[in-house]
């Protein structure tokens, strides 16, 4: 518990300094740190190969995706993230059919970003682009401590995590799903 508390305390300090806390929100519940107050959204373009090669629960359904419409809907989502006060940074899809689903490549809690080892083999390379981006933008020496992040790598020990399986509930509880999994 101590480590998490420590992090939270630091975060509060950062929020106050930036005038970015919950003070402007009259009715919002106040907590020691608001994990639902964010400044940056990292997104990824939709790769052309999605319609051929995206993984899916129902085989064949990727071929029914209207790429143009999908991109339009995705652009609208990014625009709404901007309207919600986030700076939106979009990475290229880098040829990965599923890379638009960037959530699966990392688990973020406060300043800590764990880069995952996605459960699907074909998706593991997606992490590279995210890692590079995070290193280039959030770990430089000249940034203040609050603006940097800690990148944590998962060891290559057969463990897999998709970020889409992790729900961070904001306070202490942190909920995780396990699947009765196949491939390791």
């Amino acid at each position: 518990m101590q480590l998490v508390m420590f992090r939270n305390v630091k975060n509060v300090a950062c929020h106050m300094r930036n005038g970015f806390g919950t003070a402007s929100a009259p009715k919002a519940p106040t907590m020691n740190v608001n994990h639902f107050q964010k400044k940056i959204a990292l997104t990824r373009d939709i790769d052309e190969s999605l319609v051929k090669a995206a993984l899916t629960m129902q085989p064949g359904s990727q071929q029914t995706v209207d790429l143009e419409l999908a991109r339009k809907q995705h652009t609208k989502l990014c625009r709404e993230l901007k309207w919600a006060g986030l700076e939106v940074h979009t990475l290229p899809s880098a040829g990965f059919a599923d890379s638009v689903f960037i959530e699966d490549t990392a688990v973020v809690v406060g300043r800590t970003v764990v880069l995952t080892n996605p459960g699907a083999r074909s998706r593991r390379g997606e992490v590279m682009g995210v890692r590079k981006y995070l290193r280039d933008h959030f770990t430089q020496q000249d940034l203040s401590w609050e603006d940097t992040i800690d990148i944590v790598e998962m060891p290559d020990n057969g463990g897999t995590v998709d970020g889409g399986d992790i729900l961070f509930t904001g306070t202490a509880p942190f909920e995780v799903s396990r699947s009765c999994m196949s491939h390791i």
Binding site: V4, L77, W83
Partner: protein
């Protein structure tokens, strides 16, 4: 294709967040229970096979967990045992249960896509939260939801 997260991965993740409480649920188990729930209530709802945990839940305020369909109810049952005074909102549409909640804005699937969930969103979400509706039917065909498309930092 089955889901993507295994026990070893979770153990590694837990070690990155010491002191944080992790609650682990098995999606296959939740799906089984959801099917039983749906059958017992005599509803015609087909319980879909889902890819990720967040295929049927997400946060919809600072302290409310949004869930969807019979899967969502089964998840709530599992979590009630683990969480202290959890607040839940279950909407009928599984697809409507994945929203992005950030900066007091709830980005959710549009009412044209999920009309049956609309009233509950309007009634139960705290009033200070701004609602934004988007359509995402195309990426949903490849099991994509709204939270899938971004990582929120800082």
């Amino acid at each position: 294709l089955s889901a993507r997260t295994n026990l070893k991965g979770l153990q590694t993740l837990q070690s990155a967040f010491p002191g944080t409480q992790f609650i682990t649920v098995d999606i296959a188990e939740i799906t089984d229970k959801a099917k039983k729930l749906a059958a017992a209530s005599g509803s015609a709802e087909a319980v879909p096979d889902v890819l990720h945990l967040k295929s049927f839940c997400s946060m919809c305020s600072e302290d409310m967990i949004l869930t969807g369909g019979a899967l969502g109810l089964a998840l709530q049952n599992a979590l009630r045992k683990e969480l202290d005074q959890p607040q839940f909102l279950n909407v009928p549409d599984v697809g409507a249960s994945n929203c992005v909640y950030v900066n007091q804005t709830l980005i959710r699937r549009s009412r044209t896509e999920f009309p049956n969930s609309e009233a509950l969103f309007r009634e139960r979400i705290p009033k200070y939260i701004r609602h934004v509706e988007v359509e995402a039917g195309e990426l949903a065909k490849v099991d994509g939801a709204l939270t899938c498309c971004s990582l929120l930092l800082r």
